[in-house]
């Protein structure tokens, strides 16, 4: 199943860019083998892979910087070959590494280039330029400086501003942040996220940095040797690598650096013993003793709705075992939902100083429990060898 391509289904929405059976040959060497890919409108897709996997080639085929050998690439249903290259490129924003700015032109002139190509008026260009500088968070006194006078991060901001200048629907980014220092890169990634939330462009982003891809993408397209290995959301990719290659590429235990993708559902202890509200306390005590766990969940026998919890501590020192479960069960005020992330779980446990939290699904059915003990075990896992993984969800 190594080459099995994960079938990616998207929610409703139109496809902006579509690759249909696209191949690329450089001389006799085929570097892309029959790529099929649909990029939905308003989403950011990262194409990732090690060098030579064909990711940049794919990107440059979209604006016809690299001609395709066979197959069809279409934008909004229109074959890109039907639009003259220069016209096509004017409709598409393009950001590359530092070299994208022209050193002999001022910042203002660099930003204005695409607008000049669209024959905007001087006033319109000036107004838009100011807006753009504001958008990428740079002071307007930079306009008369030259690119070499700017830091790498500032230059790249200008590059991004230029790509957005004529408000294109599609923006192609070819490793735009890879030459920057980690702190600047991080800032720019966050700013890109914010921009994207607001502007909802269709962005194709080529990178070799998995952290970056996970951080900014709606979808990740993982490439290897000219073919797509897996196409998935960052979360799906982390949790369900399609094969060993993908797993190795994203790195084992990678998910720990993205705790927001670890959900209560993934780490809770399931199959906790249950009883009804009318179950006798004695039989409850027996149940607890026969199980490893210290908890019994009380549920409505008919609807399965969660009613309360009994712990071994509560059952141990009772004067009499005459009553039923509902007499002494606790009804926790704080519960978790299945979609709560690890971060939120830790916050809740700490904030309310709870030894455990019950996980409820949408129907208020208790599906699991997370205890301090189980959390320690889960968190410790990333530092320990993962041979004894079985039974753990992740």
């Amino acid at each position: 199943m190594r080459y099995n391509i994960y079938i990616y289904c998207i929610e409703m929405g139109s496809f902006m860019i579509k690759f249909a059976n696209v191949t690329k040959k450089f001389k006799s060497k085929e570097v892309l083998h029959g790529i099929n890919l649909e990029i939905p409108e308003g989403k950011l897709i990262s194409i990732i892979g090690s060098s030579g996997c064909g990711k940049t080639t794919m990107l440059k085929m979209i604006n016809r910087l690299v001609p395709l050998t066979s197959g069809v690439i279409s934008i909004n249903g229109r074959n890109i070959l039907d639009t003259p290259p220069v016209e096509l490129r004017k409709q598409i924003g393009y950001v590359i590494q530092q070299t994208g700015l022209f050193p002999h032109l001022t910042i203002a002139e660099n930003i204005a280039l695409p607008m000049l190509l669209h024959k905007w008026s001087k006033e319109a260009i000036a107004a838009r330029t100011k807006e753009l500088l504001d958008m990428v968070g740079l002071p307007s006194d930079m306009l008369n400086r030259f690119p070499p006078e700017l830091s790498g991060g500032q230059q790249q901001r200008i590059g991004v501003a230029r790509a957005f200048s004529t408000n294109p629907d599609i923006i192609l980014m070819d490793e735009p942040f890879s030459a920057l220092d980690p702190i600047t890169r991080n800032n720019l990634q966050e700013e890109l996220n914010d921009l994207q939330k607001e502007l909802r462009k269709t962005i194709v982003f080529v990178t070799h940095d998995m952290d970056e891809a996970i951080k900014i993408s709606d979808t990740i397209c993982l490439m290897r040797n000219g073919a797509i290995e897996q196409l998935a959301t960052p979360e799906q990719l982390l949790k369900n690598p399609a094969n060993d290659f993908v797993e190795t590429f994203i790195g084992k235990n990678r998910i720990w650096s993205s705790p927001e993708f670890i959900k209560a559902k993934d780490i809770m202890i399931e199959n906790i013993p249950t009883c009804g509200p009318k179950t006798g306390l004695l039989s409850c005590l027996e149940k607890i003793r026969s199980e490893v766990l210290d908890y019994i969940l009380v549920r409505n026998r008919l609807t399965n709705e969660f009613l309360g919890v009994l712990t071994s501590g509560m059952l141990q020192d009772l004067p009499s075992y005459e009553g039923v479960a509902s007499d002494i069960m606790r009804q926790p005020v704080i519960t978790l939902s299945e979609q709560d992330s690890l971060v939120e779980i830790l916050q809740k446990i700490n904030e309310h100083n709870r030894p455990y939290l019950i996980v409820l699904d949408a129907n208020k059915v208790a599906t699991g429990i997370i205890t301090r003990k189980s959390l320690i075990a889960i968190l410790g896992k990333q530092y320990l060898s993962d041979d004894s993984d079985e039974g753990m969800v992740i």
């Binding site: 910087l65 590359i96 050193p103 695409p114 190509l117 070499p148 192609l172």
Partner: protein, 526 residues
């Protein structure tokens, strides 16, 4: 004569030659830029063209400039045109190469970025590639321009004028002052041009790419203003000069009469004499192409309608031009030549002048005394011990070296080709023992040389013969009389004296000619 005295007495001439030099250089480099830059751009796009084009430009650079001039005369004639064409050819390589290098060194990613935002090829060339290439291109132009100034001095060799005229005349007449008066302004011109172009180079370098630019932007901007002003002034001056000369070309009098001369003292004097007399006695506007070149160059020029008149010698015409075996019959030589020139070339040989500038062999007094040599037949005994130095023309003529050795039955120990006055210098420094000379040569007198008697009458007669294009003569028969008057005045002694004044006393051929004519009442004092 020192350079200062020469410059002082001839400043007007030096100045006008300098202006001419600037014109020629500017025109040649300007055209070279117009041709070279597009070629450089072309081969940076069509890479398969780069090797052949650059190799060709390299090849042209490798051809000796004299050889290239030789090739150019049959095609382009003489004067400014071939000179400019040759300097253009030489200037192309640095311009093409630097344009090509400049464009190809721009990172391909930058070009791709430009394409990626939707620029057309032309827009990329104009807005990205060209501005980034300009500094390197200008460095190439600088090299070209400086080389062109130097190369243009050689242009005087084919009558283009310019400072080279002074250098060549100076070499002919062993006048160091005159050589320096040509060479020094050429050097200064090259330095000034280099400096001006360095300003351009700095100006076209984008501020951001200049060293230290980021710190001292305001200083640089202020400096740029001054540089711009300097350049604007310089450009206006050069344009003014070009425009002036263009106007001159347009206003060229149709009645212009072109007088040429070969490139040695007597010819320069004769050229000036003829030109001055015609100017005074006729309404013709005389154009001087003095110091043009050897017999071949001058005859080719008159045959190609590049010039209208020059003075040659009967023997030269008879053997060299008309390819007859050398004879010593004075009248036969003239009559046959006259007939054949008219028939074959439509040229009229006017009446012979009164002096016979035949070849002579000359040795130093000390050598003549030592071996008791006084006539050419003595060479049968001593010739094998002597090293000869002769003009290239003499070595190549049937009535020159070959005929001489044959007629007197001897062979020199060695023969060396040396042009112009340098063979006198070589003889004085004992590098050679015997030289060819013209009987009327003033340098014979200057260096006190002994002329060996032609006791077997080997050398053909070399009476001066004014040659005129018959077409022109038909239109302007009025030139015959003054030329004949002049010819009658010039006998062997007079001519030698005139030559002596130039070669020995360091006077100008122009001045000497002028004074002679005034003294003899042919023209009035200026």
């Amino acid at each position: 004569m020192s350079i200062f005295t020469y410059m002082f007495t001839n400043w007007a001439q030096v100045w006008s030659l300098l202006l001419e030099h600037i014109q020629l250089t500017a025109l040649a480099v300007g055209i070279a830029i117009l041709i070279g830059v597009p070629i450089g751009i072309l081969i940076s796009y069509k890479r398969w063209l780069d090797k052949p084009v650059l190799s060709f430009a390299n090849l042209v650079q490798a051809i000796p400039s004299m050889a290239l001039l030789g090739f150019a005369i049959p095609i382009f004639g003489i004067g400014k045109l071939p000179a400019i064409i040759i300097v253009i050819l030489y200037s192309l390589l640095p311009i093409i190469k630097n344009t090509y290098t400049g464009i190809t060194q721009i990172s391909p990613q930058m070009i791709e970025a430009a394409m990626g935002i939707g620029m057309t090829r032309w827009q990329i060339l104009r807005k990205i590639q060209f501005p980034l290439t300009l500094p390197i291109l200008m460095a190439g132009v600088r090299i070209s321009a400086v080389t062109a100034v130097g190369l243009m001095t050689i242009a005087a060799f084919i009558g283009a004028g310019g400072l080279g005229y002074l250098v060549f005349s100076g070499i002919q007449t062993v006048n160091n002052g005159q050589i320096m008066a040509g060479a020094l302004p050429a050097c200064i011109l090259a330095l000034v041009l280099d400096w001006l172009l360095s300003l351009v180079e700095e100006l076209v370098t984008p501020i951001s790419l200049q060293p230290n630019a980021l710190k001292n932007r305001d200083t640089i901007k202020r400096k740029h203003k001054k540089q711009k002003a300097t350049l604007v002034i310089a450009t206006l001056l050069v344009l003014g000069l070009l425009f002036n000369s263009l106007l001159g070309e347009f206003n060229k009098n149709k009645n212009v009469f072109r007088v040429a001369s070969k490139q040695f003292t007597e010819q320069l004097i004769l050229g000036n004499l003829v030109a001055d007399v015609l100017e005074a006695k006729t309404d013709l506007k005389v154009e001087r192409h003095l110091n043009l070149g050897g017999t071949n160059v001058c005859f080719a020029a008159i045959d190609a309608n590049e010039i209208d008149m020059y003075v040659d010698y009967s023997g030269t015409l008879y053997t060299e031009v008309l390819d007859n075996p050398p004879i010593s019959d004075v009248d036969k030589v003239y009559d046959v030549s006259k007939k054949e020139l008219q028939k074959k070339y439509n040229l009229t040989a006017l009446k012979q002048m009164n002096f016979n500038n035949t070849y002579a062999m000359a040795i130093k007094q000390s050598l003549a005394n030592k071996y008791k040599i006084s006539k050419l037949s003595d060479l049968k005994v001593y010739g094998g011990m002597l090293r000869a130095g002769a003009t290239l023309e003499f070595l190549n003529r049937a009535d020159g070296m070959e005929g001489l050795e044959h007629a007197y039955n001897f062979k020199f120990k060695s023969t060396k080709g040396l042009d112009g006055a340098s063979r006198y210098v070589a003889q004085q420094s004992n590098d050679i023992d015997i030289i060819d000379a013209f009987a009327t040569d003033g340098l014979l007198k200057k260096f006190k040389l002994v002329v060996l008697k032609d006791d077997k009458h080997f050398f053909p007669p070399y009476y001066a013969v004014p040659l005129v294009r018959s077409e022109v003569l038909k239109k302007h028969p009025e030139i015959i009389k003054p030329i004949e008057q002049l010819g009658a005045l010039l006998d062997d002694e007079t001519m030698q004296n005139l030559n002596y004044q130039v070669d020995e006393l360091g006077k100008n051929p122009e001045t000497v000619a002028h004074n002679f004519l005034v003294k003899n009442g042919l023209i009035t004092q200026k």
